[in-house]
Structure formats: structure tokens, C-alpha cells
Symmetry: C2
Subunit: 459 residues, 2 copies
């Protein structure tokens, strides 16, 4: 019994000692981010000097070149360009949507935006009656008889009652994603979707759509209208179901082009060939500046390299900050990251994505695979002083699609993103929406987590 | 043993049943706030139609009249005006601060704002050399020899390394509060304080100061300059310690005037003479719109009345939403609330203040007095789905000063206020800084807590 207690005691003492050492180190890490980091100024450059940077655009190329320099400036030992072929879709000059009703004496243009991957309408636009639906089931019931020759209007509300706005987004994004092909299946001429917006304003939200050829081989134009525009259209339809809407888009999809993931790496001092990855996506929609989505994630991960250097910490494993390309419309970067890892037989310990906005951190979602959750959840106490309370099971993210397939345990950074879907994929996702403290607290949480993973996570 | 287990089992079953009933009710409460409440539109009216409303101002009177109507509209059975005599300080037309240095060829006006309760300078202003200090200790060491005839400049940084920005505010606000009297003690002519700001911008932050006659009977003018202005002044002083600064203020302090707390009450169905109070303060600084500070708190508490009515819940105890007057410069309302409670021998079960901004809720600080913390902390599980994670010991707030003295256990609403001290007491505390979801989530957390308190809290 005595020996047992002595062992227990010395075990606890060791545990306490390491927790104490770690809490001191975490405090230094937070000090760095909150008082010295370049997270905010890096994001300012990316968003205001380069701006929106959709895959295949000149701005995306500029962002790749900038990311390389910024990774080196942050202290990367090496910067790797990882090639991937990305979609090259261009919005074009015109995107118009107007209601016309002689009965209501209404001629009104609605703010609209073409969805990513949409085709163009004929040059003169498409003018047709509109049929409003609230679900695919309703669409199916109406069938070709009611839909053929019309424009389908998916007027599905973003349910504000959800505590996590991402839940409401998850419920409605399918109408953006495959609404056009579903409508085309029944002979519709174009598709309009109510923006996935958590605020009642006049900003249309873009985002990618896909033509699902199993539903229809016919590709029809797909646009989004704003929350208020959708309200107006719906109200007008109640009073005049024969009103017409004119939709015009000029979009062009070119051949895929070469682009890159940009990987900034600090070489591990003990296990150089074992990797810990933290990434966000470098591409963004073209209508805003891609500040919260996901310039924030890119600069947060990049700053991790600078933190290790500034504090003189030599990580045991190789630490990678990854600026993924093409998250928004193709996931070519995320797919390539997995492919290269597989081909080169890289050993990836774990990978994190931050792509939910640069807001105050609340926690992390952590894979239960390979003991990762069990390890990380023990650090809850260490993170408590930093108001990180939710270390939950599950996690990952779109950019980790390739690496997750290889069985690498994944993690997701979870900020307080109540404001995210106000500006998500709109012209309002701009640098002025970023709060410096919130951005840096998020970066610090990620940096702290990676410090601990490097120290303690074993597989 | 059998009986013990049966009792244990039936006890747990009852507990589970009530938790289940409560979780259903909480969900209804959140649904109400997130989809039907008038919190946001009420705040829009208060902030944009009435605007800044310092005690004693016509706007404060308008706010009192509005609060009465809004409390009735929210469903109050009765609205009580609770009189209190409040400070009547008026900023006046001019507040100027300019640097002059022939050595640096510098003539520059700095954005500045008089501190609440400050006296006016002589009409021509005060022009003098400046002595910069970082603490009262430094001031004391310099003494009359160095300070007499000069303007004291408290250049104390808001420490960004703190995880809770309120900690940094707490460290620096003393220079705003009694810096002038401390400086006057050594013969200073005026006092300038660096704004308690968490952002590097050009907005000066006001806030109250007090003349401490135990330090000096001489009342000197007190102003704040912005973060960037303070940087400029400090840099300039390094290059020319003989530069002069001119400070001009026109402030007037009139005789105290009559104003009111506005109390909206739903009468308890079982214990009408036992009260549960939730309050924010109706007055605000004059330079902004008092949106986060504390229009948000007022409308959150007010909406609780509407929630009880809308959901058909008849509270057992009397529920009070209180719009306190004069939190910013005197606490006359909070003091009066306690005085009336004492005089009328009111039985107050518990009281909450919300005055930390209308941001995403994180938790509550709860008094350990009279079993309140023990009761509330058991509800942690119920609040988990609503991302309320921190139910901690301690709590209360400035407006509860009177009621706390009577031994009433107090609570404080704790939002994620990383952005608060960017705009606190500035012209930027305006309605456009409010996010509707965040505001309503806070209101819902308070409403949910009060539903549970009414059901279960006993003393």
C-alpha cells in the first residue's frame, strides 16, 4: 500500500509539474499572440491589398505568391508549393434579377448574385413566371406540369431558432448546391435561391453549386437573392402568381488551371518526418474580401510558425501551416494534400482546420480516432483560463477531406460564430468586420493546442 | 436496501422528469427570443430615436417616458417610477486639446473628450507644459517640484495580454477616476488620461471621474485623449519635453435633478410580495447612443416580461425588469432601489444586472449567498445546449449596490465582451454595433435563468 501511494503521489507530482510547466508556456504563447503577433496586419494585407481571390483568378495567384513570402517571414524553414488543378469560373459582368408585374404595377430590380459554377443565361436573359417552393419534396409533387418553362424560387428560411447558426446553414445549403439541377429535372429555365442569411438585409450570398447530371443533363442558371429580396418576391407572388422575373447571368467556366496549396513548415527537431498540420483556405469568393472566410484561418495558422520562432520553441515534429487552395469551389487543394501525403508516405499525426471565422474561440472539435480526443480532452483545465470550454468529440473540415481519408485524426477550430452567416459569402465579408483581439485569441488557442500536441501526442 | 434503492430511483426519476420539463420550457423560451422578440427593435428605438441619454438630460427624460410605455407594451402588470436625485452635468460646447512645439514644428489638435463631472477650464483654456506618468507612485515621486504648474498626462496602457479585457479596464480606470485630484494635490493645472481602449484608434473614451477632496480641494479639468493621440503626445514629449498643451473644456455641473428608475413588474401569482429583479441601466454617456452600454441590458430585461406573457407562463413571484437611472455618474438609481426595498420591507429573492454589452452569452456570475450559487450551478446541464458554460461564483453589478447591501444575493450576466472596450464610452457605441442574434441569445439566457429561479429558488 505504501509503495502504491508513493507511486501515486510521485505520479501526480509529475503530472502537476508538467501541467504547471505547460500553463506557464501557454501564458507565454497567449502573451505573444495578444501583444506581438502579425496576424491582424497580415490579414489586412491579404484582404485589402489583394482582396477577393477565387480559384483561378489573378488575385488567387497573387495570394499564393504573398503566402509564400509571408510564410517565410513568419519563420518557415521551408515553403512548399503543392500543385492542384482548380476550377476557373468567372462571374462575368452582368447579374440581374428583376420582377415585373402589371397587376401590381411593379417593376423592380432585386439585388442578386450568380452562384459559383452557374452557367450564363442567353445574352437577353431568361424571362418567365416563377414557382416558389419550400422543399425538394414540394418541387417533386408539383412536377413537370407546374414547373416546366418557369423559374424555380427556393424560398427556404434560415431557421433563427437554432443555437448554432451553422445548423440552419446546413439545412438550407442543399437548395443552393443542387437546386438548379433538381429544378431542371422538371423543365425549369432558371433557379433562384433565398440567401442563407442570418440577417434581414439586402445582401445576396453566393456560394458554390453543382450540376448533378444524374438529376438533369440540362444546366440552367442559378442565382441567389437577398433575404429582403426573397421576402419581396414571395409577397409579390402571393398577390400576382403570374408575375414574371427576368434573370441574366454572364458566367463562364474555363478549363481548370494550375494553382497551389502553400505550406509553411518548421522542421521537427526530433521527428522531422512526422507532421502536425493546421490550415485554412487561401481562396475566397470574389464578391467580398474573404476576411472571415477564410483569410482569418490562413493568418492564424501562419502565425503559429512565428510564435514557435519568437518563443524559441523547437518543435519535435514538423509543424505545417497550410494555406489550402480551392476550398470554395472544388476542394482541389484539400484533395491534393491527401494525395501527396499518400504518395510520399508522409506520417501525419493530426490535422486541424480553421474555417468558421476569426471570432472569439469557444473550443475544438476533436476526432476520437487514434486516441486524439482522449489526449486533448485532458488539456481542458489548461485552456480554462483562456475561456476555451468546449473540447468536444468530432471535428475536421472540408480542407481535410484528403488527409482524413488516410485515417489521420482531424480537428476543427470552433469560434463563437453567431455573426458569421450575416456576412458569409457576401460583399460584406471584409477586413473591417475583424476584431483584432478575437482573431488573436483564436490564433493563440490554435498555437497553444499545437504546442501541446507536439509535446505530448503520441501514436 | 431495496427501499433505499426504490427511493433513490424514484428520486432520480422525479429529478429527470423535472429536468426534462425544464429543458422543453427552455427550448420554448429560446424559440421565443430568437424568432419573435422585440429586443432588437426596442433597442433600435432607444438608441437611434432617443440616442445618448446622460442623467439630467432631456434625452434621459425621454428615455424614462419611453421605458414606461415599452414596459407596458412588453406586458408589465404595473410600471413603477422610483424617484432619485441625479447628477446634472453638461459637457458644454468646446472640448479641445492641442499640442504645440516650436522645436518639433508641431501644432496639432488631438481628439479629446471631457470626463464626466469635470469642471470647465477658464474660458481661454489652460496652456502648460506636460508631465507624463505611468502610475500614481511615479506621480508621488515627482512631487510638487516637478508637477506644479503643469498638465499631468496619465499614459497607462490598456494591457492587451489580459484574456478578459475588463481586467485591463479595472487596472487603468483609477487614473480616469481620481487622476485629476491626485494631480491637483501636487499643483497640476489639468489632467489628461489615455483612453481605456482595447483598439488602436482615434476615438477618445469618456467616463466618470470624481473630485476627491481628501486629496485636493482644487478641482482641475480632466479630459481623455484617444489611443493614437496618447501615442503621439508621448512620442512628442520624448523629443521635446518642453512642448505645451492647451486644454479647453466648457463643462457645467448644475444642481441635482429628479429622475427615475423605471420598473416593469409582472405580479407573482403565488408570492406577489417576493421579487426577482433583472436590470440594466437606462442612462448612457452623451457622446454615443448607449447601445451596448447599456441599452442592450435594458431591452434584454424588458423582454423578459414579454416572454412570460407570450408563453403564458404565470410566474409565482413578482418579476421585475428594472431600467436603472444614473449608473454612469452617480449610481443614484441603484442606491434608490435598495433604499425603497428597505423602507418598504420588500422581500427580494435575487437580483441580476446585465451591463457588459449585448454580446454572445458565456455565463453568469452568481452570489454564493443564501444558496443561490448552489441552486443555479445545478442548472448547468440545462444551459449546455445554449452554449452557456460558465456559471461561476461571484456576481452582481454597480446598479445592484443598494440591494446587495441588504443581503440580497446578486448575479451578473457575462457575455463574450472582447469587443466591448473598443467602443465603451465612445461615439462608436451605436446601434449598428449590435448583432441581433447575440443580443437575443443574451436575453434568452437571462429569461431562461429567471424562469428557473421563479420555479425552484427558495430561501
Amino acid at each position: 500500500m505504501k509503495i502504491f501511494f508513493i507511486l501515486l503521489f510521485s505520479g501526480s507530482a509529475l503530472f502537476l509539474k508538467s501541467q504547471n510547466k505547460d500553463s506557464i508556456q501557454l501564458r507565454k504563447i497567449y502573451d505573444y499572440y495578444l501583444t506581438q503577433s502579425k496576424t491582424y496586419s497580415n490579414l489586412e494585407f491579404l484582404t485589402t491589398k489583394i482582396g477577393g481571390r477565387l480559384s483561378g483568378s489573378p488575385q488567387a495567384d497573387q495570394a499564393v505568391a504573398w503566402a509564400m513570402k509571408a510564410m517565410y517571414a513568419a519563420g518557415a524553414d521551408t515553403v512548399i508549393f503543392q500543385p492542384c488543378m482548380v476550377a476557373h469560373w468567372v462571374r462575368g459582368k452582368r447579374e440581374k434579377c428583376s420582377i415585373s408585374s402589371s397587376k401590381l404595377k411593379l417593376e423592380k430590380e432585386l439585388k442578386c448574385i450568380a452562384l459559383g459554377s452557374s452557367v450564363a443565361t442567353p445574352p437577353g436573359g431568361i424571362k418567365a413566371k416563377v414557382i416558389e417552393v419550400k422543399s425538394f419534396e414540394e418541387l417533386e409533387k408539383l412536377g413537370e406540369k407546374e414547373i416546366k418553362g418557369k423559374i424555380v424560387f427556393y424560398n427556404v428560411f434560415f431557421n433563427q431558432a437554432h443555437i448554432r447558426p451553422g445548423t440552419a446553414y446546413g439545412e438550407t445549403v442543399k437548395y443552393r448546391g443542387k437546386g438548379a439541377s433538381y429544378a431542371a429535372k422538371y423543365g425549369a429555365l432558371a433557379s433562384i435561391v433565398r440567401s442563407m442569411s442570418s440577417v434581414a438585409d439586402d445582401e445576396p450570398h453566393t456560394g458554390n453549386m453543382n450540376y448533378d447530371t444524374t438529376l438533369s443533363k440540362n444546366k440552367i442558371a442559378a442565382i441567389a437573392i437577398s433575404y429582403l429580396g426573397a421576402d419581396l418576391l414571395s409577397e409579390s407572388l402571393k398577390q400576382d402568381k403570374d408575375l414574371t422575373v427576368m434573370v441574366t447571368t454572364d458566367c463562364v467556366t474555363y478549363t481548370n488551371v494550375l494553382s497551389y496549396n502553400v505550406i509553411g513548415q518548421i522542421n521537427g527537431s526530433e521527428k522531422k518526418n512526422e507532421y502536425l498540420t493546421a490550415g485554412g483556405h487561401l481562396d475566397s469568393w470574389d464578391n467580398g474580401q474573404g476576411a472571415h472566410d477564410d483569410g482569418a484561418g490562413v493568418v492564424q495558422c501562419m502565425e503559429m510558425l512565428a510564435m514557435f520562432k519568437a518563443l524559441g520553441i523547437k518543435p519535435k515534429h514538423s509543424i505545417r501551416a497550410v494555406a489550402f487552395m480551392n476550398e470554395e469551389n472544388g476542394l482541389a487543394g484539400g484533395t491534393a494534400y491527401g494525395k501527396f501525403a499518400e504518395e510520399n508516405k508522409e506520417k501525419h499525426l493530426a490535422a486541424l482546420e480553421t474555417d468558421a471565422g476569426g471570432y472569439t474561440p469557444r473550443g475544438f472539435g476533436i476526432d476520437t480516432l487514434k486516441g486524439l480526443y482522449n489526449t486533448v480532452s485532458k488539456w481542458g483545465k489548461l485552456f480554462e483560463p483562456y475561456l476555451i470550454e468546449k473540447i468536444t468529440k468530432g471535428g475536421g473540415g472540408a480542407d481535410l477531406i484528403g488527409i482524413a481519408k488516410l485515417g489521420v485524426p482531424c480537428m476543427g477550430f470552433e469560434p463563437d460564430n453567431q455573426r458569421y452567416f450575416d456576412i458569409h459569402h457576401t460583399a460584406q465579408d471584409t477586413f473591417d468586420k475583424i476584431n483584432k483581439r478575437e482573431l488573436n485569441l483564436g490564433a493563440a488557442a490554435i498555437g497553444g493546442l499545437f504546442y501541446l500536441l507536439d509535446q505530448y501526442y503520441q501514436r
